[in-house]
Amino acid sequence: MNKRYSIFSLARNAYTRHEDWQEAWRSPAPKARYDAVIIGGGGHGLATAYYLAKLHGMTNIAVVERGWLGGGNTGRNTTIVRSNYLWDESAAIYEHAMKLWEGLSRELNYNVMFSQRGVLNLAHSPSDMREVQRRVYANRLNGIDSEILNAQQVKEFCPQIDLRGGGRYPVVGASLQRRGGTARHDAVAWGYARAADALGVDIIQECPVHGIKVVDGKVRGIETARGYIETPKVGIVVAGHSSVLAEMAGFRLPVQSMPLQALVSEPVKPTLDCVVMSGAVHAYVSQSDKGELVIGAGVDHYIGYGQRGSQQVPEETISAICELFPIFRRMRMMRQWGGIVDTCPDASPIIGKTPVEGIYINCGWGTGGFKATPGSGWVFAHTVACDEPHPLNAPFSLDRYRTGYLIDEHGAAAVAH
């Protein structure tokens, strides 16, 4: 059992030069049978396991991860958290996640460094501004804090921005969500893993899944690198590899996988105390607590599983950031990487049942899954435990591509996907 982290445990361990800290979670060998198996040990998968154990009493479960915890998109995103989505269905699920974020460090007894520093979404033209107004009003009707700022108010909130944008990206206004901000992405995975492990969940790393056994339209178990595991319920939470797992189970998804890129600069002293996003030019920037500028770029225009991405994509982002923030022009970029995101035709996730009985899927978060991590795990745990979706994720079914009930968040979600 994990000991609680506190100021006292910190002081106690300081005496022994921090050499006696317990491991945060066990590394057990897989059992032959579990009540449910979650495939994918990223933030969403680990959150699912935690809520299954905590809220639904399912403790004989496992999370299998082919690499290491949070080594995929959880550790590759730009850590931005916000809930200012346009449509009611999205607003409900992202705001549910936001409320969970607000109590998460306490709930998990793990500091996820959630910092509600405010998220600005810039408008560069009168039509951008009208979209901002429409979205802010929709947010307010859904009880989400959202404000409209004019250019002068943008300058007051974030003086580092050059409102002229080099003539190319003039800033005419913005929306602001003050409750939005950032969180430490690795800590989210580690916090959920530690809390789930304490409730008895087996977390099995370095265990890729080779096959899914389906008999008469019903799942029986999974074939892994560490042997066969029998289970009546499988939750697939593997982001960019969703189509690969779906093919193993014998059903199709409307998902397309492509690399989304991000990069960080050399660390500097505190200079930017909010998150600035520009949907029109697909550029995000914030500053991490280590001092690096964290910059998010766009996706490639064609499918691919190489975690690199095309060079011209971050180039466009950087050129826009240099115009908006002339003070950053001489910064040197330290690292650049790509994560494989699973994009859906309507830029909304798929969370629900599949054509195979006992297999549930949580995918299609595309370029914006990190912010939803707690809410996504929460509704998916309900779906897996109760064999039916929670009202919050019922609209996000795979079946919506047949019924036509699409939740089109392209552009409307405050960024261009």
Binding site: R66, P208, H210, H241, S243, V244, R252, L253, P254, V255, Q256, S257, H301, Y302, I303, G304, Y305, G306, S310, Q311, Q312, P345, Y401, R402, T403, G404
Partner: protein, 97 residues
Amino acid sequence: MLLIPCPHCGPRAEIEFSYGGEAHIARPEEPDELTDQEWSDYVFMRRNPKGVVLERWVHAHGCRRWFNAARDTVTYEILAIYPMGQNPPELPEPRYL
């Protein structure tokens, strides 16, 4: 960035091209006969292989002509270029985990 061998103009940088998505998806011949599920498959469902993908490209900033390509989505190697409307040549079948 990909170097794409346009069959008409020779090898050119990726930024000269536009992507046309999965190749060989035929429009249904009897649209009135299709169920909602069949329409959904035609409109939304796509192969998204970790391996060889057959896809369409157009040399938008060059000769403006369409062609098919077979590409490995892990190594990004372009394995074959062939004309629209033709079947793909024999291709390797790499297995990635």
